[in-house]
Amino acid sequence: MSAPTPVPKAVANLEKTREAAILRCSGVWTLQGIPLLERHIAQLSWPASGAVIFDGVAVTAMDSAGAWLIFRTLRQIERMGLSVTIKGLRPEHQALLQLIQTHASGENAPGLPRHSFLNQLGRNIWRHLDEFNGLLAFLGEIAVAMLRSLAHPSRIRWRAILYNLQIAGFNALPIVGLLAFLMGVVVAYQGAVQLVRYGANIFVADLVGLSILREMAPLMTAIIVAGRSGSAYAAQIGTMKVTEEIDALQTIGVSPMELLVLPKMLALLVALPLLTVYSDILGVLGGMIVAQSQLDVSFTDFLDRFDDAVKMSSFLVGLGKAPVFAAIIALVGCFQGFRVSGSADSVGRQTTISVVQAIFLVIVFDALFSVIFSWLDI
């Protein structure tokens, strides 16, 4: 940021005479003037003992930054055991210097404390354990709230549930559908190259059916919903926390659990399985279209083979994961929303964490399911 006019400068020269050292100051002691001076002053070689006279006759302008620099320099000289006399300063500059002097604290403001590596590591591990603990406690609270609602069905907020069903379920249809369709296309294409080589074209139905229904559709749908709705939950609740709306709800006597968390959880428990079936259908459709155009497998042949290849259990295995994923997404989204504290910055951070954590947990649980199902031989 340079002004078009020549940059004003502050000047300080140290003259040593027999009796005393004189610091002759002149020019503009303001924010614009002092940057170079700061370095210059640090390099001045002060006499070992005696008196220093600060001569400010030629100082034409001074602001509080300039006054601070003078004060700081003089304080440093005094600490070296030299005596300091100020002369020639204009009255208004004198007053400013006085002001700085009365407000200067003994030492610089304390910085943020720094920790050693081990200390930091311990803190981080502790923080994660604490967070996990909090997540479990939150899960418990939701369970209790849910049981209480079941005991008093009149307290269930149907409007909120339906609203969330629309937002998280119905409004997600286009994007989930499109991605599921493309996924079916990709799986069939990748398979087609290999199948043609063995003349086993018809097995494309096995390939597409099993991979989409068992794995791809539930997993992809959950990941999309975690990104779409889990983040929205965290951001909404977090913002309400910052603006003290959560506190207001509690004062009015409305449980935030019942109004904000349960409807989201219940709506997602319904919406995600439905979305999964929907993406099953569109994924297989994508596979069928590729099968017809690349492998000469007609829709009728494909569906005949599909009937033999894919058992009902495969469909149910995929579908059965959806409610678990839904619970994870709603739980993590709401939990991270409630962990927001204080500021706008925190809302952003917790929202990011909610998405990463939800997707992480969804994939971990998917892996667990695979292991369990292979044990059970389903």
């Binding site: 940021m1 700061e38 601070w68 403001a109 910055d345």
Partner: protein, 261 residues
């Protein structure tokens, strides 16, 4: 009060409209160097809009606004940046950056606009924090950890970080208890004398108008309804101005001021 003829802000024939709603209809105002000038008026009379136009967050439809003698309309970006260095703004709700500590908030304009070493910047920030009457320990805290009054003070410290010639305060005492409000208004006067500032403030606080302002303009119906010292304004014949002074709250503040004298 130094009413030399050296205008810091000069507003001529200002018109502002939002769609069909007329906010300013021929507003004229002059703020002289070294004075505390207050803008008052009922809610929605265009005070805040006027302030946003002065600090170039918004454009008027027509008319001229001169700050430090240069016309704001059609100003180039680099000129506007230089202009912004010369004024400090304290927003109504503080607008402190929540991701930064108070000391970092105050140091931020210094870091952006000067080449000082970061050590010196920290020290200057600490001095400004002390100047507005915050304890040393406040510097390392985040805005969310401060009380409302402390947040206002921190916002004021950031506004005076660059030693601006013109300090603009939006509702400096709104949301404060009477004790904090009166100490803040004392602080504003104190800073004005020590740093030689010109202050433009928007306020509803009738005590602040009587206590701190050198001159006051009352806005209403898109015009300046009255302008002058509080004493002059209290003799005004305009019904809305009279309402302002002789409504129940205005009356109390008026009596209080007279009894003090």
């Amino acid at each position: 009060m130094s009413a030399t003829n050296d205008p810091v802000i000069e507003i001529r024939h200002l018109h502002t409209r939002f769609g069909n709603a007329v906010v300013h209809d021929d507003v004229n105002l002059v703020v002289q160097r070294g004075e505390i000038f207050a803008l008052a008026g009922s809610s929605g009379c265009g005070k805040s809009t006027l302030l946003r136009e002065i600090i170039q967050l918004q454009q008027p439809v027509s008319g001229s606004i001169k700050v430090f003698g240069s016309e704001l309309r059609g100003m180039r970006v680099d000129q506007a940046t230089i202009m912004r260095r010369r004024l400090g703004v304290m927003f109504e709700r503080g607008a402190l950056f929540s991701a930064l500590t108070v000391a970092e908030n105050v140091g931020m304009p210094l870091r952006e606009h000067t080449d000082l070493s970061s050590e010196l910047i920290d020290e200057i920030a600490a001095i400004k924090i002390a100047l507005v009457g915050l304890p040393d320990s406040a510097g390392a805290k985040y805005p969310a950890e401060l009380s409302g009054g402390m947040r206002k003070r921190a916002a004021l410290a950031r506004a005076i970080a660059l030693d601006p010639e013109l300090l603009i305060l939006d509702e400096p005492t709104a949301g404060l208890d009477p004790l904090s409000a009166s100490s803040l208004d004392e602080l504003v006067r104190h800073l004005k004398e020590l740093l030689g500032l010109t202050i433009l403030m928007i306020t509803h606080d009738i005590d602040l108008l009587w206590g701190a302002a050198d001159r006051v303009a009352i806005l209403g119906e898109g015009h300046v309804l009255g302008e002058g010292t509080m004493k002059e304004l209290s003799k005004s014949e305009h019904p809305m101005v009279r309402e302002y002074f002789y409504g129940p709250r205005g009356r109390a503040a008026w009596e209080q001021t007279w009894n003090r004298k």
